[in-house]
């Protein structure tokens, strides 16, 4: 197992080595560089790159991009002590596969690296994403109609873990001919802005019950619109009552064995994610 740590700290690579030693994982080769311009062809598809995110988000994102440009198939994970939603979104948008929190928990790190390398090297079956466009269109329409905000689609990728990218997420369970869930996950500042625009008032900067209720209504409208667009297809579903989960790094499970598609959007300089996990019900039986 090869790991390349990009960090200007001498401590972080040692902490990474220590984590693998602690769990008695052998055959691990950890190398370190202080900056991304020192990578010099050290990244292959079998290398997991760890970017120590002690930088400005633009610098950190630049490092992720350089690593991916060096070898697109190499998984890149962010190591961050202050993994705020903005950091996570910037890293994922640049091509990172996930975030590992600092201080490093040995088990978390080893599991994340092993999973990232497995995902990067194993051949995946083609994922059918024919149902995703109605969700994208619905998201744009809800933001535009209710908030007067243009939501621009930035990136689409698959995500295995349950950790949400934002500080607050609106969740809608989907049942019927197709089963799964759709989640909209927003950083705190954007959630306050979106709900404020819906209500025509300043909601402040902190999550409160009113902002959370508004996020629930956003996912309710996105799911409802997509539902109407998917009528008479094998992806048709019914909706019920949305729920809202908040807190940085909160987790929401999705249906096992069903691809979990993340669409990153940008609006008014901030990022948010739409997560859709949906498959015809029969195929999950």
């Amino acid at each position: 197992m090869k790991i390349l740590v990009i960090s200007n700290s001498g401590t972080t690579p040692n902490m990474v080595r220590g984590a693998f030693q602690q769990l008695n994982v052998s055959n691990v080769e950890v190398t370190a560089v202080a900056a991304d311009d020192e990578i010099n062809g050290q990244v292959t598809a079998e290398t997991c790159v760890l970017v120590d995110w002690e930088y400005d988000p633009a610098v950190g994102a630049g490092m992720v991009k350089t690593a991916k440009e060096s070898c697109d198939k190499a998984p890149v994970l962010i190591l961050s002590a202050k993994a705020k939603a903005g950091t996570t979104f910037a890293g994922m948008k640049a091509g990172a596969s996930g975030v590992v929190n600092k201080p490093i928990d040995a088990k978390d790190l080893v599991t994340a690296v092993a999973k990232a390398l497995k995902n990067a090297t194993e051949k995946k079956p083609a994922v059918n994403v024919e149902f995703i466009n109605p969700f994208i269109d619905a998201t744009r329409n809800v933001f535009s109609t209710m908030c007067g905000m243009e939501a621009h689609r930035k990136k689409l990728f698959l995500k295995d873990d349950h950790k949400m990218l934002g500080d607050v997420s609106g969740v809608m369970g989907l049942t019927g001919a197709a089963t799964g869930s759709v989640v909209v996950s927003l950083p705190k500042a954007l959630a306050c802005k979106v709900v404020g625009k819906m209500l025509g008032m300043d909601m402040g900067a902190e999550l409160n019950p009113d902002v959370c209720d508004g996020v629930g209504e956003v996912i309710n409208m996105i799911a409802g619109q997509a539902k109407a667009m998917l009528v008479k297809t094998k992806y048709h579903f019914t909706i019920s009552i949305p729920s809202v989960v908040s807190g940085h790094g909160h987790e929401i499970t999705h249906r096992k064995g069903t691809p979990n598609i993340v669409v990153l959007f940008e609006t008014e300089g901030m990022d948010f994610a739409l997560q859709v996990c949906l498959a015809p019900t029969e195929s999950n039986d």
Binding site: M198, D210, G216, G224, Q225
Partner: protein
């Protein structure tokens, strides 16, 4: 002067609707968070002249609420405001006695236009 009952489990949506109503001079508004509360509010406010209701709500959904309202009141205008945008849902609501149907998301202009026929 109209008195309007707004039934929706989302406080955000209730506020969006009431804010829009206030821009057209409709200040006499009562609110409820689900069908059960909606029925109780109607009983307590027999002078309500227009009902706006969501469809998907806990305890009692908007369709059941509408059906219950029609059991005792055939004439009060009831408008569904919902994300349930499929034609079949519209037909179901109209058959159950809804007078009009507004699909979320909506602009204030659409809301005002659809309510115009039911307001003084």
């Amino acid at each position: 002067m109209a008195k309007i009952l707004v039934v929706d489990d989302s406080s955000t949506m209730r506020r969006i609707i009431t804010n829009t109503l206030k821009t057209i001079g409709q200040e006499n508004i009562v609110e409820a968070a689900d069908g059960v509360e909606g029925l109780a509010t109607l009983t307590a406010n027999p002078d309500v002249t227009l009902v706006l209701t969501d469809w998907n709500m806990p305890n009692m959904n908007g369709l059941d609420f509408l059906t219950k309202v029609r059991e005792s009141n055939k004439t009060i205008p009831v408008i569904m405001i919902t994300t349930e945008a499929e034609k079949q849902n519209v037909v179901t609501a109209i058959k159950a006695g809804a007078n009009n149907y507004i699909v979320k998301p909506f602009t204030p202009e659409v809301l005002k236009e659809k309510l115009a026929d039911f307001l003084d």
